[in-house]
Every structure is written in C-alpha cells, then in structure tokens.
C-alpha cells in the first residue's frame, strides 16, 4: 500500500541522495570567482576545477591558478578530481591526466602563463606546430606553475 507518507519519504530520500552526490559542477562563467586569484571567471576556454575527496568543489579561472593553488595549499593530497577545459570545446571539462597541455607565447591564457589544454594529441600537435609552443603533461605543467608562482 503506497501512502502519501511513503511517497513523501521516498521523494525526500531521493532528493537528499541527489544533494549528497559530489562531482564536478559546471562553472557559471561571469559570476563564479576563481578560488585562487578571486577574479570573476569569464573565459570559458580556460576554466579549471578541483573536486576534493569530501566532494568540495573549487573553481579556477585558469590552469595556472589551479596548479598554483595545489602547490601553495597542499590540497593535492585531498584532490579527487582535477579538471581543465578543452580549448576546442569551450565549457567542456577534461581530466588533467588525460589532457595535453600547450605552452605558447602566441596563446595568452588568463593568468599570464600561456597555458592551454587539449583533449586529443592530434589537435594539440597541430596547435604546437602552428603556434610554436611546447607540449607538456600535467605533471610538467604543475612543476612549471609552481616555479613560476614562487618567482612572484
């Protein structure tokens, strides 16, 4: 027998479960602020995101801000998911471990480190050749940002 109470309890529990789901959240460009530099996140080709083990979401306006935040706050240990945006698909996240990063003087990024992420090797190589840049893994990108951050 399905009573209104049961429906109510069922619905509430579903809602609660949904509310508890932790995962990447889309960045609201133009209103969300970068967790590291406090700037309004406005360029949808560069937004990055960190989701912690506990499901806390930190948003960043650029790859370099996320990398520097990880470096300065030792949040790397509690990070479950690290996401960057695929340059060719603005607003689309990709896992940093699967991304290819490009550093090119001809492609300025929001925080002055000329970093762009791509989801596939082919596009990345094409851009690297065209814009005479270097391709990097996430680890190399992190090292680069850490040394850059300390220089400031």
């Amino acid at each position: 027998m399905i009573t209104p109470l049961k429906i109510y309890v069922g619905l509430t529990s579903i809602l609660l479960l949904i509310a508890c789901q932790s995962g990447p959240e889309p960045i609201a460009y133009g209103s969300d602020n970068c967790h590291h530099c406090k700037m309004t996140i406005s360029d949808n080709r560069y937004g990055s995101e960190l989701v912690t083990q506990k499901g806390k979401v930190y948003k960043f306006d650029s790859i370099e801000c996320m990398a520097q935040y990880l470096d300065e706050n030792e949040a790397g240990a509690s990070a479950k998911t690290l996401l960057a945006t695929d340059y060719k698909n603005p607003g689309q996240f990709i896992e940093v471990s699967k991304a290819i990063f490009l550093q090119s003087e001809q492609m300025p990024s929001p925080m002055g480190m000329f970093l762009t992420a791509f989801s596939d090797q082919e596009t990345a190589s094409q851009f690297a050749a065209e814009k005479s840049g270097n391709l990097l893994t996430w680890e190399a990108t992190q090292k680069l940002c850490a040394s850059h951050g300390n220089a400031h």
Partner: protein, 436 residues
Amino acid sequence: MEMLTNTYSNCILQKQALASGVRASVAFLLLFLLTSISQVSVAQSLLVGKTGTIQSVKKAIQLAQPHDTIYISQGTYLESDIIINKPLTLIGRHNPVIDGQFTGEIITIQADSVVVEGLVLQNVKVSAIKDYAAIRISRSKHCILRNNQIRNAFFGIYLEKADSCQVQNNRIHSQSTMESTSGNAIHVWYCNTMLIEDNQVSGHRDGIYFEFVSNSRIINNISTKNLRYGLHFMFSDNNVYRSNRFINNGAGVAVMYSKHITMVENTFQNNWGASAYGILLKDITDSRIEKNTFLQNTVGIHAEGTNRTIIQHNEFRQNGWALRMMGSCEELRFERNNFIANTFEVASSNNYTSNNTFNGNYWSSYTGYDLDRDGTGDVPHKPVKLFSYLIEDVPTAMVLIRSLFIDLLELAERVAPVLTPATIQDDGPSMRLNHW
C-alpha cells in the same frame, strides 16, 4: 687720365667679379635647396571620399608615401582588415564611419609614428579563437589614437608589444551581456610607457586591461558598466592611475601581482554584488593609495597578500565594508582617512597579529570622547565589530544585523573585549573629518 681709366676699368672688373661671385653662390644655394628638398620629399595629403578618386581607406594607404596624411571625408566605408604598415596620419573629417560588418579586425597598425584620429569604427567580429579589435597597435612605437568612437567592438583598442603610444579621448561603447563573448575596451599587453587619458569606456569585459605593462599612466578616464572590472592590472609594475572614475562595474579595479602602483584621486562608486569591490588588491607591494573616494560599494578595499603600502587621505562612505583584509597583509599604514557611515569599517579574516597600523583616521562610528580638546580621541577606536567577525565564519548570520541580540553582544564586547583582534585599532582617532 690713364690712371683714371685704369682705376675705372679695375672697378668694372671688380664689380663683374663680385657679381659673378654672387650669381654663382645664389645658383649654388638654389641648387643646394632644390637637391635637399628632393631628398626630403614633401609630405602629401590624400583625400578619401565617397565621390572622389580614392573611395576606400585601403586604397589610400596603398597609394600613400611614408609620413603622408590621409583625410577621410564623411560617409560610411564598409572595410575591414585595414593594415597600416608605414608611418601615416589618418584623420576623419565630420566623423566618417568605417564598418567592419563583423568580418574581422578593422585597423591593424604595424608601423611606428602612426596617428589615427576622428574616426567612427563599428561592428567587430566576436571570435573564440582570435582577439579581433577595432584598432590594434602591434609591435610599434610613438603611435597616437585620438578622438575616435568605437561601437560594438569585441576588443576596442588592443595594444600589443607597443612602446610610447598615446590613447586619448576615445569613446568606446558596447552592450555586452556575456563575459565570455566580450573583450576589453582598452587592452594593453606587454607594453611600456603608455598614456591612456580622457577616454570613456563602457559595456565590455574589462574597461581598461593591463598585463605585463610598465611605466605607464592612466589618467582621467571614465569606466562604467563593464561586466568584470573598470580597470584591471596583472603583472604590471611602476604604473600610475589618477583621477579616473569607476562606476557601476562588476568591480571597480583589480590590481594583482604588481609592484609600485600609485593610485590617486580616483572615484570608485556603485560596485555592488557578491564579489564586488572598489579595489581588489592581491599580491601588491610598495604602493600608494591616496585621496580616492570609495562611495557605495559592497567592499571599499579588499586586500590579500598586500605589503608595504600606504593608504591615506581617502574617503570611505556608505560601503558595506570599508576594508577587508584577508590573510598575509603586512605593513599597511592607514592614516588620516575618513570612514563615514559604513556598515562595517574593517573586517579581517583571521585574528593574526600583523604590523598594520591605523592612525589619525576619522571614524563616524567612534563613540569615544576628547576631554583634552586636542582633536584626537582619548580612547582607541576598534573598527572591527564583533558581528563582522561572526559573519566571516557564518555569512548567513547577516540576517541578524539589526537585531537587539547583536546590539547586546556588541555592547558586551566593547566593555570587555574578548574576540575582536586587539591589533586592529586606531590609537589616535580624529574627532573631525580630515581634510587634504
């Protein structure tokens, strides 16, 4: 007699010799002048008009010699990707319109000493791949952009790797609604010794944007209704911005990762919102903030990682927070400012003991007295309220702001301070408004 004729003929001879000498030198001078003139070549002027022989700006540039002047008469010219690759002066007469029809960039300057004046430039393509601008100066020196109007541009004026250029008295207006599809009105990147003066900018992402720019001045501009910041500095040292007005922007000015910035006599007004500030300071050292007016902003000055900076003679009036200091602010000196009718005067994220000093400021909420009539309050003023301390941890407690309970807490805290930081206090608060 013979002698006479002799002398006479001598005279004649001398005269002739003299005359021929004069003639020779005159001829020589003329020759010299002519040759030198032919070497200099007189700068010509060309006229572009809807009815004349030259009907497009591109054609005129193609025909022009270096240092020529091109006058553009009234009318609408449908042109884009105009490249100026020699020193020229372009002057619009009676506001001629160059319409880019959203195809690309309108004018790209790739030469030194180019002047562009009196044009109306409109309709620049918005792109996710290229930063198209109404006017771009690329790797050039001593260029002047003056008295132009720019409408519906993606980027208005874009200066990259330029040196000693002037951007004066331009009107750059757009109606952007999305930050990701709008560029900056005046975008300055990797430049040195720039002057940005008397411009009016609105409706872009940032009104004026400086990245890797040094030794430059931003004077007397009006930046309003921009989606993100009225003015934005990144990695730009040794710059001055003076007498500008930043009104109704997402936030007034963001100064980040820069040294030796002088901020004087500016007005920051009506920057309201969850993350809106008059000034956002992040990682700033050795700077001066003087004689500015902060009127009706959510936060007057929000400082993070700001060091060795003097903040004096400013007026903070009717802001949510006059000052917020978040973490690692060292050696800030707040002197002789006026804090008038702010909801919160100072908020600080943590109860750290830093060496920031407050002295001689006027605080409208000061409840002390001045028994010795020396113009300075006899008891220190503590600008950090207990309540502002609470809402740093529990922002939603804001609903209690005018409640009796909070008033009682404040009273108790004033009588016996326990929670509020002892380090943040003005030992010599002024009893009267400071004047400067």
